[in-house]
């Protein structure tokens, strides 16, 4: 029973990270119809920037803000590259974002290095017990921050002018244009926002698992799975998808086999695509022929 609960806790913790990565996918997909294969690299960029900025002796608050800003800029750069592309077909955009992910990985290897790094935990190494399972302060922080982000995003999209403009744009680009919304600017903000969410995820994750220039690959793919499981067109589907994924992974690693842990995300992905392409919630179908 204790074991089950501790597996659940670690699953939920990782699940929230997947949720953050997945939300980034959803934001970009809903606004531009593009699946950003470099989303995982935004997570990596946030974590790695934080690690190296902290080494310079900067106060943590500043490190946090700068890391997020740097990653946001990387997001804006991607937006610009897409903007100037001559042809924006599905396959070109897939290759473009894949190329960007390779580029960012190479950039990280050069600017930082190829080693593993960890961030010290922001809230110390303490933990407390719930039902015989250990919950570290860092894990609790991840859960709390993630929930705060989700709520903030919800408020942003429903209450603020910019947020509502973003929703309008993703619903119907032409109507949005007619209302005088600057589509390009909104798109750029979407990319920046997506990158920032990812960066926060990376910074939160770094104290728990070590970070290096390659973590983006798997994280990105799993985050994508989380988004699809929840439903790509549902803004917060990724949250549920992420949690479901995190918990499933943890249970499989604990009870079945740790070697196949990574496969869970993709088996779940295939399952959803075959049986409920719109995600757990949605009745909307993925384009089927």
């Amino acid at each position: 029973m204790n074991e089950l609960f501790s597996l659940l806790l670690s699953g939920i913790t990782v699940g929230f990270i997947y949720a953050l990565v997945g939300m980034g996918f959803t934001v970009i997909y809903n606004s531009s119809g593009i699946i950003n294969f470099s989303q995982g690299e935004f997570v990596m960029a946030g974590g790695m920037s934080a690690v190296f900025l902290l080494k310079t002796g900067m106060p943590f608050g500043l490190v946090f803000i700068l890391s997020i800003a740097i990653t946001a800029l990387l997001g804006i750069l991607l937006w610009k590259l897409i903007d100037i592309s001559k042809e924006k077909s599905i396959i070109s955009m897939i290759i473009l974002t894949l190329g960007y992910s390779i580029f960012l990985r190479g950039l990280a290897a050069v600017i930082f290095d190829k080693e593993l790094h960890t961030l010290p935990s922001f809230v110390g190494n303490g933990s407390f017990e719930i039902f015989g399972a250990v919950l570290t302060y860092q894990s609790l922080l991840i859960m709390v921050v993630s929930i705060i982000i989700v709520i903030s995003l919800h408020l942003f999209f429903s209450k603020t002018k910019t947020g509502k403009a973003m929703v309008a744009t993703s619903d119907n680009v032409n109507s949005a244009k007619l209302m005088g919304i600057n589509i390009k600017r909104i798109l750029m903000l979407n990319f920046a926002l997506s990158a920032m969410i990812a960066a926060i995820g990376g910074i939160l994750l770094a104290p728990i698992t070590s970070t290096n220039y390659e973590i983006g690959i798997m994280l990105g793919l799993k985050g994508f799975s989380a988004a699809v499981i929840g439903g790509l067109s549902q803004p917060f589907g990724a949250v549920v998808g992420g949690l479901v994924l995190g918990i499933l992974e943890s249970l499989v690693a604990g009870y079945i086999s740790s070697e196949y842990k990574d496969a869970v995300a993709f088996i779940a992905l295939l399952g959803i695509l075959f049986f409920m392409p719109g995600g757990i919630f949605s009745n909307l179908k993925a384009k089927r022929v």
Binding site: I35, S85, I94, G106, L273, A286, K287
Partner: protein, 316 residues
Amino acid sequence: MKNIKLKNIKDLIILSAILVIIPFLLKNGFYYEIVILCILNAIICIGLNLLIGYAGQISLGHGGLAALGAYITVILTTNYAFPALLSLFISVVFMAIFAYVISKPILKLQGHYLAMATLGVGIIIYITLNAQANITGGPDGMGVGLFSVFGYAIDTNLKWYIFSAVFLILLIAIFKNIINSPFGRIMRGIRDSSQAVSSVGADVAKYKSYVFVISVIVAVVASSMYAFFSGFISPGEASFNRSIELVVMVVFGGIGRIYGALIGAVFLTVLPQMLTSFEDYETLVYGAIIIFVMIFMPKGIISLFDRFNKAIHANS
């Protein structure tokens, strides 16, 4: 009548000529290896191009599928002492059936969802190959024995080169015929409008599956050849990176053109070798080049050749 025929195989003649000359230009074994790798990659890409460029279906899992087939060939030959050709045959039959079965649910999806489903399949294969170490040798890979055809061993670089080059020429000739046949027309039609194709009596799902299976068979054979040639196979062949590499080769070279796939494969096989002088910057430059080409030459590098051709003909 004969004149038309000659014009149609002009490109094959030129390619054959180039292939005949190349061995004389190669200075040592290392270059031979690269050229053979180029040819084998080109073969996989030409098959993959049929799926992506002609039928319009994206696959981000071909690395995994190809590697699975190669592993089956290798395991049968090395662990069970089957004759190489028989192992290859069994592997091809198995993978063809496997590909056909998974194509049914997967090809119902479109666009991004199709891409992600194929990606999922590829990665699951990758994880499985890594995990089942008792059969596959795990992450460290396994050694591969000799490749012999009816007792004749293909064991030197030159023999491998001839074998691969002939394979390439035959493949291109066959594919050209297929592309211009009624089957090929349907395949190309599906890329533009599956409703149109249905409305002339063709079962779209069936044809998509056929093209998928063909592309997998070609990839499996070439991957198996590569395993025999290099004497080694590892799960890295099934990785997402490898699957991306293949798709980038096809798109880079030029979607929907046989020679586009060939050019893309050669370019991106040779490129990493040229980039080793950049050392740490290798990945960075590789990524930058992909980005650059996708932004400014979305139709692929072959579009440069097209402009070159047009310019020549405009002047003459």
